[in-house]
Amino acid sequence: MTERRPVSDWATDWDHTDPAWIENPFPIWDDLRKRCPIAHSERFEDGAHFPSRYADVREIAYDTEHFSSRRVIVRQKKFNPVMPSPPITSDPPEHRPARMPLLPAFNPKAIENLTPGTRALCNRLIDGFLAKGKCDAAIDYAQHIPTRVIANLLGMDEEDGDRYRRWIKMALEEGIHDNDKVMQSLKEMTLYFGEELKKRGSTPGDDLISFMRDQRVDGQPLPTDRLIGTLRLLLIAGIDTTWSAIGASLWHLATHDDDRRRLVADPSLMDTAVEEFLRAYAPVTMAREVVKDVKINGCPMKPGSMVLLSFPAANRDPEMFPDADKVVIDRKENRHAAFGLGIHRCVGSNLARMELRVALEEWLKRIPEFRLEPRARVTWSEGTVRGPRQLPVVFSA
């Protein structure tokens, strides 16, 4: 981890990679919402804003005229040239045609077909550690579920998870302060997908790599750099996001006996519980680049500056959610923004929900009683995606 100068004032010098933010960002956001709802920081090239209110996050997410998605990560130094990963980095009018082909692969029917396999996978993982009476719920369980599911979907080697996760860590965590890591990760992924495409040639196949290869726009195949950009996105977006959601939910259940026992006793609460975990522990923070002068909530924003678009902070806004700081597993009204708002709604949201739900259901069926291992350390990822990376728990076998 890079040594960073301590934060002097979160309102004027915020840093989402500061250890205090990584460990427990919620009090920081609560404080900012009260005294400076759009904070600023010069730690990032050209300056960056941090809106902490739901209403402001929503307004920015809907405003594609003043805010571009061409950069979706706030980095210390901007990464140039921008590396497109359509459709997440696309603005209108290119956004819609880039997004459309992906949608059928993630609609509810398509995801339902993946459910039995995911359930079996969760049980195989549990078989591996149940008798030991302990495991690391992030390392031995959560991280493998989305990795294997998305690798399968793309038609990639399921056993190569360590490699995929390393690319993601380089691109999304280490890459915030070190552009060489981003470059290295992009290069390796580009090479990898190039090989995968070469391997397939023009042989028909039902995996997502073949499916994207076969897309035609005006009768023409997608240009290779765009095709590979989308494949990189599918791999990156599908892994540490859901891994984080599963891990954070298990962390909550390990530390809140009342919620865990209630959910075990009444599995019909799972629908609302899953949405509440997604609200309270939304893993994904995006970004926008200001492209035209604009004022949000009275705060002027200049072209070139970045906005940290924190759906997790929006989800904790008490103006929008009563008892926003409490996890209420039977919350009735819950318009959370964990999967974004507006045209960039996470394409994989149905897949992520299914994986989270199935991972919790299978775990609780077989491990209804568990807690954090005493004196063990829980560590959280930093920056763009928040979730536990070490989560040692004990249970009676």
Partner: protein, 72 residues
């Protein structure tokens, strides 16, 4: 004799972004197209037994795309 005022659900297509929250709450009232966008089943009429689910679908749409109206 008091007559029940019947309700109708409606999904505003231009607001729906395919979160599918309404569908997961009330698959009896909503259907999802190939691209993952939602629309009301049939003419959207809500049977009395599903009124609570219809209200929940409205309350959980992140895009405020689901509307509940009184049937004329």
């Amino acid at each position: 004799m008091a007559e029940r005022i019947s309700l109708k659900v409606h999904v505003e297509a231009e607001r729906c972004q395919g979160h599918n929250r309404c569908y997961s709450i009330a698959p009896e009232l909503f259907e999802i197209d190939e691209l993952g966008n939602s629309r009301a089943r049939g003419d959207g009429t809500v049977p009395a037994a599903l009124e609570e689910k219809a209200r929940l679908a409205v309350m959980n749409c992140p895009e405020h795309a689901v509307r509940l109206t009184q049937k004329a």
